[in-house]
Symmetry: C2
Subunit: 172 residues, 2 copies
Amino acid sequence: MAGRRDDQKGAGGGRCNCTALRKATRRISQLYDTALASSGLKSTQRAILAQISRSEPTTVGGLAQALVMDSGALAHTLKPLERDGLITVEVDPDDRRSRLIRLTADGRAKLAATDESWAHAQSSFEAAFGQVESDLLRQALQVLISDDFVSAFEKNLLANRQEPNDHDRSPQ
Amino acid sequence: MAGRRDDQKGAGGGRCNCTALRKATRRISQLYDTALASSGLKSTQRAILAQISRSEPTTVGGLAQALVMDSGALAHTLKPLERDGLITVEVDPDDRRSRLIRLTADGRAKLAATDESWAHAQSSFEAAFGQVESDLLRQALQVLISDDFVSAFEKNLLANRQEPNDHDRSPQ
DNA sequence: ATCAAATACATGCATATGCTTGCATCTTCG
DNA sequence: CGAAGATGCAAGCATATGCATGTATTTGAT
C-alpha cells in the first residue's frame, strides 16, 4: 500500500453509467479503428455507410434516428463522406425538404473493402469478451436506446425532480 | 417476409459491438446531459472534475489514463474548464514536464452542485434499467477497458490477420 | 558533464456530436 | 388560394476526441 495516488484505477473511478459507457466506447472505438485503419475508414464512417446500405435510399433524419444521433451532427459528418465521393446527397423530388442519401459505387466498394477488417475486429472482440457475453451486451445496449427505456428514464427523472427525498409526492 | 427495407431498425441495424456502444453512449449522454443541463456542466466535464477530485492533484497523463482517453484530446478538453476557472493547471515543480491539475474552489463547488442532478440521472437510469442489470453492465464495460481485454483483443486480431481462414498457424 | 533515448505535454488538423437558429418546403385550415 | 404551423435540413458555434508532430525535461549511459 505504498505510493497510491492512482488507486481509483482499480476501483473503477466512480460508478457513473454514462461515464462507464463513454470510457468503453473510446477504447473499443480505438480498437476497431486500428483494425480498420488500413482501409481508410473510421469505425464511425463505416457504421454510417453500413446503415445507408441497409436502408438505401434514406434521409438525413432517418439515418440520424437509426444511428441514434442528432440530425445536425449527422449532416456535418456526412460532408467528408460526400466530399470523398462515397455517398450522394440529393433533394428528394417527392419532398424537397428531404435529402435522399445513397452510396456511390465507390462507397459500396469501400464498404465492402472494410468488411474483412471489420469482421476481424468483431471476431477478436467476441473471442476476447465471449460470444454469449457479447450478445448479452449488445442486447443490453439495445435496450438503452429503446423508446421504452428513454420513457422510463424520463419518467423517473421527472418524479425525482419533484421530491429529492423518497416519501411519496404530496397529494396536493 | 413482407416490406423489408427498414426492418433493421427492429433488428438493431447491424451487430457491430462498437457501433452498438456508440449508439448507446450517444443516447445515455444526452439523457444525463439533459439532467445536468441546469448546472451548466456536460456529463463529460463532470466526469473529468469528478475524476480529478478523486485523485487530486493529478496529471494530464494520469487523468487521460483514468478516463481512457488520449492525452492530447484531454489537453484540449481541459481548456474550457481552466478558462472557466474550475481547475488549475500548473507545472509540476518536481518534474517540469508534468502538469499538476487541481480543482479550484469554484470547481469543487460546481461539482458539488451537480451531485444532486447526477444522482437523479443515475437513479433514473437504474430504476429504468434495473439495479442488477446496471451493475452487470458497468462490470462488463469495466472488463472492456481492462488491459486483459485489450491484450486478448489485439492477440486475436493479429492471429486473424495472418490467416483469415481458421486452419491453425503453421508450427513453422 | 554530455548526448541519446524516453517522457509528458502542447498544438494543429480532422472528424464527431449536440444545440440553436434560420430557411425552404409541406400541410392544414379557413 | 393564402397564412399559420409543422417538418427536414443547413450552418454556425462549442465541445469532444484521436493522431501526428514539435518542444521541453528528465533519465541513462558513456
